[in-house]
């Protein structure tokens, strides 16, 4: 594969991070967009945690979020929060692939990649009310997901990112902005995630736009 025809698929919209991925540009873009994957996210620099991935450990990690308004606030790029005695920043990150690679995100920032908790947020614009919709995600490793502050998915234990691994029950997206957020815990090794919405027939919903505070 020609280096000129490959594109690193993790793009930092504002900031300078190392990048990853080897898919041809056109193929990566076309496939991801056609299949409805959400490709722009606000990602918080990793927070150190014990890295336990069992149901109870993950639920405990998110039941009391590590910083105020973690489940309600939509941050801006560059905004910081303090966790314990550490200040961590939000970054707007985009991907041209179906998934967003958190390992490279953290590595590029010289942050830890193992035994860490990532918080991610995006805002999906919905043109009209959409019922019988499902959020469908994959994550490496365990993750918990919320749509408009309603907890909709929890998947646990060490696992790889598989498209449509965790799927919510049927839910309704309201007209206008809908906030999707997740807490992803990695114990070690690679870490990434993907997310999209499925319609009432379990087909990917395409054409939704994402808008993030800049």
């Amino acid at each position: 594969m020609s280096p000129l025809r490959t594109l690193r698929t993790l793009l930092v919209i504002a900031g300078a991070l190392a990048v990853t991925g080897t898919l041809p540009v056109a193929r990566a873009q076309g496939a991801a967009r056609a299949n409805g994957f959400l490709q722009r996210w606000l990602v918080l620099e990793p927070i150190r945690v014990a890295g336990q991935l069992t149901d109870s450990a993950v639920q405990a990690a998110v039941t009391t979020p590590p910083f105020p308004a973690a489940l309600t606030h939509v941050p801006r790029h560059g905004e910081t929060v303090t966790v314990g005695d550490t200040e961590v920043a939000w970054h707007v990150v985009g991907t041209l692939d179906y998934n967003l690679n958190l390992y490279h995100f953290a590595y590029a920032l010289h942050k830890p990649t193992s035994n860490v908790l990532f918080w991610v947020v995006t805002v999906v614009n919905v043109p009209r009310e959409m019922s019988n919709v499902r959020l469908a995600i994959g994550s490496n490793a365990a993750s918990v997901w919320w749509v408009n502050e309603q907890r909709v998915i929890g998947i646990y234990n060490d696992r790889q990112t598989v498209i449509d691994d965790g799927v919510s029950k049927r839910l309704t997206l309201k007209p206008g902005p809908n906030v999707v957020r997740a807490a992803i815990i990695n114990a070690g090794g690679a870490t990434d995630f993907c997310a999209r919405f499925l319609d009432g027939e379990d087909r990917p919903i395409t054409g939704l736009t994402v808008s993030l505070p800049s």
């Binding site: 069992t54 149901d55 109870s56 499902r134 469908a136 998947i155 646990y156 234990n157 598989v162 449509d164 691994d165 965790g166 799927v167 919510s168 029950k169 049927r170 499925l198 379990d202």
Partner: protein, 489 residues
């Protein structure tokens, strides 16, 4: 235990109620009822509201003047009424019956009616006279009609015959039920068999016949055999290339389990790719050795039909064909034998066997309330093992009763929710959302459906919407989403 103790013995029963029957017709659905007709005085009628529990409903000939075959039929054959078959054509039913005299002098008579429901004001049968016959000398015995509509052309065909010589084929007029070309010679398609009928799939025509001897109880050697052809008129060759006109026939079904002498195949196509077949056993050892009707799944493998089995009660892993993950009650799993490090170290001899994990070891930590359902890689854990048990007096579907599906060793039961999702409730209470229909599909996998879903009139099936998420959704036969494997844990 209460109602939970009211379950059937864990055996594979051939239908419920009054399934006694010999030489059954194809099972036909009219309205919401299933009908089958068999050999006997006046052509006995069997009716079922669900395809599982059957009852006798008098004789078909009661609706005819004189209660017997018409005079032309008697003249060509005889007074007996055996082995009927029935098919709908337009707004009519054509029922063909065997009227043998001293075999092989026999005739097949036609009856024409608008409904199969004896309670309908339109219920009436009219004598259509003899359709085919054998004179007692020729190499044919004109009994055992089998009807076939060619799905490609819509043409209607009748096969018939029994041991004296050939199985023969004639084309019928779909408007009248009589022969379309009465002056043409019937086509010989097989020999030395009976109970013939044809089916079609993927450009092949299949001729199924019954070999062996009938009517000797547990000593009956009846077995169903088949050949296939590219043309409706044959030649029908078996899988070894032997023409059925020369005695060929690949075995479709022989005696098995507690059932001896299967014969008289009939196709019951339920739509959505779900096919079953009806048959009788010469001897059902669980019912004193009488001949009974049964309905079983019809599978397909390498271009040939294959007899499936109705679902066997037992304890299973329930695995999604689509995702390879297993249905489980959403509680935190514990490794079998408890947490431990990597295996395969030490002196290489290993340690003591690790016992299986069951609910009695784990359930103390499980919430007492209803629990979500999810899917995970199968790790032999207690929350991943399901016991499937038939439920008595709760109705059924063609070939089987409804089942309850519980976490093995508990009464925690799988149930459908009003929002068309799944839950595990603390105890089974016989609600329709807790009763499950398990149909084997053509590829041997299973479709799993609740008897009813609260707030839904549509039939829904267990569906793997994601690797970790089961739900209920309309059945789509062209995907793996609703195909499941039941594996012995």
């Amino acid at each position: 235990m209460g109602v939970l103790a009211v379950v059937l013995a864990p055996t594979l029963l051939a239908l419920d109620g009054e399934p006694g029957m010999h030489d059954p017709s194809t099972v036909v659905v009219d309205g919401s009822r299933f009908y089958a007709f068999g050999t006997g005085n006046g052509l006995p009628i069997s009716v079922s509201d669900d395809g599982w529990t059957w009852r006798r409903a008098g004789g078909l000939m009661q609706a005819l003047p004189g209660g017997r075959p018409g005079p032309e039929v008697v003249a060509r054959g005889g007074n007996n009424t055996w082995a009927p078959d029935v098919i709908r054509s337009g707004d009519k039913y054509f029922l063909y019956y065997s009227a043998p005299g001293t075999q092989p002098k026999s005739a097949i008579g036609l009856l024409v009616g608008k409904t199969l429901n004896p309670d309908s004001p339109d219920y009436k049968w009219e004598d259509g006279g003899p359709v085919v016959w054998s004179d007692g000398i020729e190499d044919s015995n004109a009994i055992d009609p089998g009807l076939f509509r060619d799905p490609l052309s819509g043409s209607l065909w009748l096969t018939y015959g029994s041991y004296f010589g050939y199985i023969r084929l004639v084309e019928l007029n779909p408007a009248t039920g009589k022969r379309l070309y009465p002056n043409r010679k019937a086509i010989d398609v097989a020999i030395n068999s009976e109970a013939s009928v044809m089916i079609a799939r993927d450009g092949w025509y299949y001729l199924l016949v019954t070999h062996g001897s009938c009517c000797a109880g547990a000593n009956s050697s009846y077995n169903i055999r088949m050949g296939r052809a590219r043309k409706v008129t044959g030649p029908f060759l078996d899988s070894a290339g032997i023409d059925m006109l020369q005695g060929g026939g690949k075995l479709f079904l022989g005696s098995q389990g507690r059932h001896i002498g299967p014969g008289h195949f009939g196709l019951l196509d339920l739509g959505d790719g779900v096919q079953k077949f009806s048959l009788h056993y010469e001897a059902d050892l669980d019912r004193g050795g009488i001949s009974v009707l049964d309905i079983r799944p019809l599978l397909w493998r390498d271009g040939w039909p294959e007899a499936g089995d109705n679902f066997m009660p037992g304890t299973y892993e329930i695995e999604s064909v689509r995702t390879g993950t297993a249905l489980e009650m959403a509680v935190q799993g514990v490794p079998v034998g408890g947490p431990r490090g990597r295996g395969g170290r030490g002196d290489g001899r290993g340690g003591d066997p690790i016992p299986a994990q069951d609910a009695s070891q784990m359930s103390a930590t499980w919430p007492a309330s209803a629990i979500d359902v999810r899917m995970s890689p199968y790790l032999l854990q207690a929350q991943q093992k399901w016991t499937v048990t038939p439920v008595a007096n709760a109705g059924g579907y063609p070939g089987s009763p409804y089942f309850k599906i519980t976490i093995a060793g508990t009464e925690r039961a799988l149930a459908a929710t009003p929002d068309h999702e799944l839950t595990v409730i603390p105890a089974f209470s016989r609600g329709p959302e807790q009763l499950w229909r398990i149909d084997q599909l053509a590829d041997g996998t299973y479709r799993v459906m609740p008897k009813a879903t609260p707030e839904s009139r549509d039939p829904l099936a267990l569906s793997a919407v994601g690797s970790s998420m089961p739900t209920l959704a309309r059945f789509h036969p062209d995907t793996d989403r609703q195909r499941w494997l039941f594996k012995t844990p």
